[in-house]
Amino acid sequence: MAVMGIADALRIGIIEEMRADESVFCLGEDIDIENGMGGAFTVTRGLTKEFGPERVINTPISEILIAGAAVGAAMTGMRPIADLQYGDFLFCMMDQLVNQAAKMCYMSGGTVKVPMVMRAPCGATNRGAQHAQSFEGFFTHVPGLKVICPSTPYDAKGMIRQAIQDDNPVIVFEHKLLYGGLRHEEGAIQTLGEVPEDGYVIPFGKAAVRQEGTDMTIVANLLMSYKAQEAAAMAEKDGIRCEVIDPRSLVPFDYETVEQSVKKTGRLMIIHEDVYTNGWGAQLSSHFAEKCIYDLDAPIVRIATPDTSIPFAPNLENHVIPSKERIYDEIIKLAKL
């Protein structure tokens, strides 16, 4: 059992799959340059040494091509892992993801599959509005795509392996402050954790209960799952015991685990870095209002980045991204309702 961060865990998951299956390959910007970074966040660093440039393919800065080539290769027997420097560039390839990757199986009457992985670093990190967004919600709105967001090294390896083995297009959101890689990020959270060496996979649609509690249920993903646990630890001193659930995959979503928790606690808080309006929390809030209204003792609370682009100035960015202090305040308020 080795101890590592998420960037290393993703890399090891990719290496193991590439060793096991010759059809698996990587393509993306800046991923195989000698002495380069290995993608923007070191995940593919060094892969060329073992697998050669034939299977670690450096692309032109052409996002439509990256996604389209992944779709075409996936349709004809390969398992591409496409890599973006910043998730914000997903919007340059939206046609290929939404009109092509997501619909090919459906339009063909179930005769064509598209087993591709699209990796996308997300989250605000003092880089301004176009290298900052958390937009998982966008992609949960597209039938045909799977959307995952691993937040621990253990999950990262198990879920990237599952994503590579999955026969559908999977978008992997990786938070820039959780990589724990060689690249220093201001405000990063140390995610070092134990990662088994065997070839385990983590099936999608199974949430992880990060912390058990009886007074309220908090659903939070990626960076927010850490902020939620920090805030929950603060609230525990006030005698409030929160159950923190990390959904890990948004499509498919583990409604069952959250529902069981809500039935136990009677209170539900949803936290994401995605903006408030129609973020994935809106769907969750609606779902549990419909399904669990009689189990709830108080209104559902959503904490999100307000409906704004992400500002550069560090004080402004810190102001809009949900902080543990803001989450703690909301926990206290919700507990009193």
């Binding site: 393919i57 692309t59 439509i64 389209g68 996936a74 349709m75 591409p80 179930g110």
Partner: protein, 327 residues
Amino acid sequence: MKPKLSKKKLLEMYEKMVLIRKYEESIYYLFLEGIMPGSIHQSTGQEACAVGMLIDLKKEDYMASTHRPAGHCLAKGVTLKSMMCEMFGKEAGCCRGKGGAMHTGDISVGALPANAIVGGNLPIAAGVALSCKMRKTNHVIVCFLGDGATNEGAFHEALNAAAVWNLPVIYVCENNLYSATTSIGLTTKIEDVAAGRAAAYGIEGEVVDGNDVLAVYDAATRAIKKARAGKGPTILELKTYRHVGHSRNDACGYRGPNEQEAWFARDPITLFRNYLIENGISDQKNLNEIEERIQQEVEDSVEYAQNAAEPPLEYALRDNYWEGAQI
């Protein structure tokens, strides 16, 4: 230059062209009569492009088509019955009734589901070619596009990558002079919108008479041979003309009568028919028999499709995700 081909091959080409023409004409009337649902984007007049490009492709080679896919699909080997059933939205359709006119295809014969986003199939074709190269299958892909697609960003990104990766792909622009109803000259400065840009990517480009099936065949043969030999992609620009509107409700009021008459006089099927007779390969009687036989096959397929079962309602929510190989 006319390639030397066997009588069998030439007649096979003629049959395929007639099949596409009869199929499209049949669809046109069924649509006007209100019998057929949906929209139509027909390839009538462009039969030489489809047949010349695809007649020699192997079943395992791939083909990526556009919103105007019928000719390409029939030439690649998608069956007439499964095409017609798809047009009627029937379960026996090549996409089980879930694709429709703009998405016909059959991966089992190498025809990718046709793509109704202009330019959307170009990067996908690059990916298919990359896959062929990585798997060392020695297969190639022919990817069709219209003149309008050459102004999409996807064209630029796909062509550049195909060149730099030396991919076994043949991009085939069927330049029928109109992007929907807009003359390509109004939106593009150069005349050879595809071949004229080839040099910018370091790819060979060639302009071909798209209404001369043997000229198309000759260019196709060279491009396919080159791709199979690992010598990279080619852009072919086939100058052609659609005999009908862009889609339903398009009476082509934007095209001048002189232009139309000049192109109709160069009907690819008439040209090829004359060639076959003048060169003693066939005669009026034999060719008439072929046409009558195919007309009957098309009519039979219409009857078959009209009587075929609709997809069960549970199909509506299936196949958003892969459910395993189905029979």
